[in-house]
């Protein structure tokens, strides 16, 4: 028999009896949450349903600290219903700035905030996926673009603005842009790996969106993941 869980206005499940035991034991599901059996309409407290079910370990209550587990249905396709607590607690949450604010700050700072935020995202990915090369590739990309900018303005100051379109400038700009894309797609791979193994929510990142919007697209998903955590289990911001 399967069970559904209701907290506030949200419903989660179905869960098997074993799932229910596991999530009560881990604190994902509280004894005060409402529960109903599949095929029945009445909601009763989980404590009534699970009263005669032995809980495998002493059930710790969720603590208001970073790393609280979260469960329930995921907006991402094919996601399992909940996280293994020991897996989630090992990882820091993704950067929590709302993607819209990140985009606004990016456009207001001539894109410089976007460069800084790329490093913030890459540093987080490096923490959760140590083999990621995003930080290195972003560094190379921004290094090349900085070189173009410095030379462009020194040439401009020297009255040789036409040099901006010289082959060396084009190559440097192209190199910087290519490295940026290499970094973005490396980040995409690492983020997908993380959210399909260590924190399995079935995340899939679109290649076209990664190509055009990279950091802001990643931040969009980080925002949703953080919101999901907060909604599911009162995950701290």
């Amino acid at each position: 028999m399967n069970y559904f869980i209701k907290r506030d206005l949200s419903e989660y499940g179905p869960y098997t009896l074993a799932d229910l035991q596991k999530y009560v034991a881990s604190g994902n599901i509280l004894l005060t949450d409402l529960c109903r059996s599949e095929g029945l309409a009445d909601w009763v407290p989980v404590s009534q349903v699970i009263g005669n079910i032995p809980v495998p370990v002493a059930a710790p209550q969720p603590q208001p600290v970073a790393g609280t587990v979260y469960g329930g249905p995921s907006p991402y396709g094919g996601a399992p219903a909940g996280y293994a607590p020991q897996a989630v607690s090992q990882y820091p949450p993704p950067p929590s700035l709302h993607w819209g604010i990140a985009l606004l700050l990016g456009v207001l700072t001539c894109g410089i905030f976007g460069w800084v935020w790329a490093f913030v995202q890459a540093a987080w990915v490096k923490k959760v996926q140590p083999e990621s090369k995003g930080l290195l590739y972003y560094g190379i990309s921004i290094g090349l673009l900085m070189l173009v900018i410095v030379v462009a303005f020194s040439e401009g100051a020297a009255g040789r603005a036409g040099a901006f379109n010289s082959p060396i400038f084009v190559i440097l700009r192209l190199g910087g842009a290519i490295m940026w894309l290499v970094a973005a797609f490396n980040m995409r791979t690492s983020i997908e790996e993380h959210f399909n193994s260590a924190e399995p929510i079935g995340l899939s990142l679109n290649g076209v969106m990664t190509f055009f919007f990279s950091i802001y697209y990643f931040q969009y998903h980080f925002t949703r993941i953080n919101e999901m955590k907060q909604q599911m289990m009162g995950y701290p911001r």
């Binding site: 929590s96 700035l97 709302h98 819209g100 604010i101 985009l103 606004l104 456009v107 207001l108 700072t109 001539c110 894109g111 410089i112 460069w115 673009l145 900085m146 173009v148 900018i149 462009a152 303005f153 100051a157 901006f164 700009r173 911001r237």
Partner: protein
């Protein structure tokens, strides 16, 4: 590991130092300020172009000049100061970094206005 409070105090101190430099050394006279990467790479103005000069003008109390250099940044600056001020206050009081939550509509309206401003300025350079 540096605490959130110390980190935000460092950021605030850097901000104040930056404002002092902007106040003392006008971006119109000194060329050591960072240049717009978007302009360097594309030769088109981005929404943030002129922001440094606008803030310098504001520091001297010249609102009209600030609006001329970059109206979008000038008008949004109070909101941004409130946003980061709130973030700083949370860090100082509770020793944690929290990006303040804002209503969904607010950033959408701000972003739309900024992008419209950028397009209009690029198409008609007489617009500040």
């Amino acid at each position: 590991m540096i605490s959130a409070r110390a980190a935000m105090n460092g950021v605030a101190a850097a901000g104040l130092a930056g404002a002092a430099v902007l106040y003392r050394f006008s971006p119109e006279e000194y060329s050591f300020y960072p240049r717009c990467p978007f302009f360097a790479l594309t030769r088109h103005y981005c929404p943030g172009c002129g922001a440094t000069r606008a803030i310098a003008a504001l520091l001297h109390g010249n609102v009209a000049a600030a609006l001329h250099f970059n109206a979008a940044v000038t008008l949004l600056l109070p909101v941004l100061l409130w946003y980061f001020g709130k973030m700083y206050w949370t860090a100082v009081r509770e020793n944690r970094v929290e990006w303040p939550q804002v209503p969904q509509w607010s950033w959408k309206v701000a972003l739309a206005c900024v992008l419209l401003f950028a397009v209009a300025r690029d198409l008609a350079p007489t617009i500040s």
